[in-house]
């Protein structure tokens, strides 16, 4: 359905970024007073290539119908396209097609697990594995995005379970020194980020999963910042659930994915109920469909699923290894260049080891909002604030920070533009000559 040109042969050599950028119409526009756009906010949302936009348009123009309903030709085509998209996306993360559940976004995917567990609390013994209550513990980390923190706080509040967390070191790494005490026989869930959206830290998934398995706790991995940026294989990771969003990986808004191990999804009660997720329905009661349909109540977002599959195809054609290498080069360069700016302090690991393409920093004497305003005036679009990780900022003694995040379409020139704009801000506010 989409054509992806060869980027100098997938899987080898540096990216042809100029060719890639041609696929992203938005990157050639200007902002504010005619400044070329320097987009450094892909950690919040990525830009979309034509191939993704075309796939969504083609679905609407040729195959649009409500999927898994009706027997007419369009309904068949739409359903085929939707289920084929599921296969592509499952393959992209090394999972099985029956293990991919479409959600609104990653936030909903995580809520799906936490609410299913809350629903299990009032159900029969068959769902014991998912039940939590007083005396049980749920473990998160101090570096979580609010999306992987608040749902667990709420589950604890509803069920009487206790929330605990891995601390973060001053260097922006997880402190696992107390892991054997923290993750124990009372632990029901360990939920953590694969890569921090603020610090860029890539967490040691294997160590945490190994301990969780020893005590029989379920693992939930927030992969929002990893699936778009590095090769991810759910089997190799060994987690039980993994969540990510479409819009951060060149895909459209309004679609996210929950991947879950089949036997868990098969045993798990639903979160949202209604049409499509049922077995049989009587006036008095209903039974549930098998997964993944059990977790997809209502008419699903088929055009977005098709477009997300096109995004996976695009990324696969470029090669996830090459994208990860490209971002590694950028972040290494950015760390070096930013560190050389007087009065600038990097928040998070300063070495490009186990570290993805997001760099947060503080500039002495300039509030991030004011810094972001000057950067924006120069066409450099970054994120300012606490990036939905307020407890992490509090822990690191930072009110707010400025974050630059990279993707396959960014260049070292973008980093240069950032550094030069930071220096302009320092001059403007008179904090540095």
């Amino acid at each position: 359905m989409t054509t992806v040109r060869e980027f100098g042969g997938a899987g080898s050599g540096p990216l042809d970024v100029a060719a890639i950028r041609e696929d992203f119409p938005i990157l050639s526009r200007t902002v504010r007073d005619g400044r070329p756009l320097v987009y450094l906010d892909s950690g919040a949302t990525s830009q979309k290539p034509r191939q993704v936009l075309d796939a969504e348009r083609e679905f609407y123009e040729r195959h649009n119908a409500a999927v898994h309903r009706g027997a007419h030709q369009l309904a068949e085509e739409a359903t085929d396209a939707y289920e084929a998209a599921r296969e592509t996306i499952a393959r992209f993360i090394g999972g099985d097609v029956g293990e991919v559940v479409f959600t609104k976004n990653a936030t909903e995917a995580i809520n799906l697990v936490s609410y299913a567990m809350g629903n299990a609390a009032t159900a029969d013994e068959g769902l014991r594995r998912f039940q939590v209550g007083p005396g049980d513990e749920i473990v998160v980390t101090e570096m979580e995005h609010h999306a992987n923190l608040v749902p667990w706080q709420e589950l604890c509040r509803r069920t009487g379970a206790t929330l605990r967390w891995f601390p973060v070191t001053a260097q922006g790494r997880l402190d696992l020194s107390d892991i054997d005490e923290l993750v124990n026989e009372r632990t029901k869930v360990v939920a953590f980020a694969h890569q921090s959206n603020v610090l860029g830290t890539v967490n040691p998934v294997a160590d945490i999963v190994a301990r969780a398995r020893e005590v029989g706790a379920l693992t939930v991995l927030d992969a929002c910042q990893s699936v778009p940026h590095m090769p991810v294989d759910v089997v190799a990771l060994g987690v039980d659930f993994l969540a990510f969003s479409g819009h951060k990986m060149l895909g459209p808004n309004g679609i996210g994915v929950l991947w879950g191990r089949r036997e868990l999804l098969e045993a798990m009660p639903p979160f949202i109920t209604g049409g499509s997720m049922i077995g049989v329905v009587h006036m008095e009661y209903s039974t549930w469909a098998e997964p993944p349909q059990r977790f997809e109540a209502g008419v699903p977002m088929a055009p977005q699923a098709v477009a997300l599959a096109a995004a996976c195809d695009y990324l696969s054609a470029v090669g996830m290894e090459r994208i990860a290498d490209h971002e590694h080069t950028l972040v290494e360069y950015a760390l070096k260049e930013l560190d050389a700016v007087e009065g600038l302090r990097i928040v998070g690991p300063t070495e490009a080891v186990d570290r993805g393409g997001a760099v947060s920093f503080e500039v002495e004497g300039i509030h991030p909002h004011d810094l972001g305003q000057v950067l924006d005036d120069r066409g450099v679009e970054v994120r300012v604030g606490h990036h939905c990780a307020w407890p992490l900022h509090r822990k690191l003694g930072v009110i707010a920070s400025t974050r630059a995040s990279f993707y396959l379409y960014n260049t070292t020139e973008d980093v240069d533009a950032l550094v030069s704009a930071v220096k302009v801000a320092q001059e403007f506010f008179g904090t540095r000559g």
Binding site: D33, H369, D370, Q373, D377, G385, H386, I399
Partner: protein, 157 residues
Amino acid sequence: MQLDAMYQEIILDHYRNPHHKGLREPHNAEAHHINPTCGDEVTLRVALTSAEGSLLDDRAVVSDVSYEGMGCSISQASTSVLTDLLIGRTVAEGMRTLEAFTELMHSKGKGEPDEEVLEDAVAFAGVSKYPARIKCALLGWMAWKDAVSQSLEKEGV
């Protein structure tokens, strides 16, 4: 560069040398407001002196506004300007000033502020072109409104 229009010298002066900063006694009420997008915060106290022979009402005089805060230049300068404008005014006058300032902030850069009413606060007109920064400019003002309402509820007629 549009920055100069936004960061008027008056704003930067108030940011570098804020007026009436620090929490003081006596006070009738205190309000703590947070901007949830960035974590900026202000704690603001008001002291009111009632009109002669009356309980606290909108004729009361704002005898002091004191505050502590952390935040960007816009939120800090705006709170500093607020203290200059509102200390010594009646509650009714203060509310009218707040209304004029709020209207200016929502004017999308097209407002024609009344300098008689807003004085130094007219410098914030440029901020209204940037929707993301309006909350910054209003942070202290909303805390003031809250603290005054609390005072009137507690001790008013």
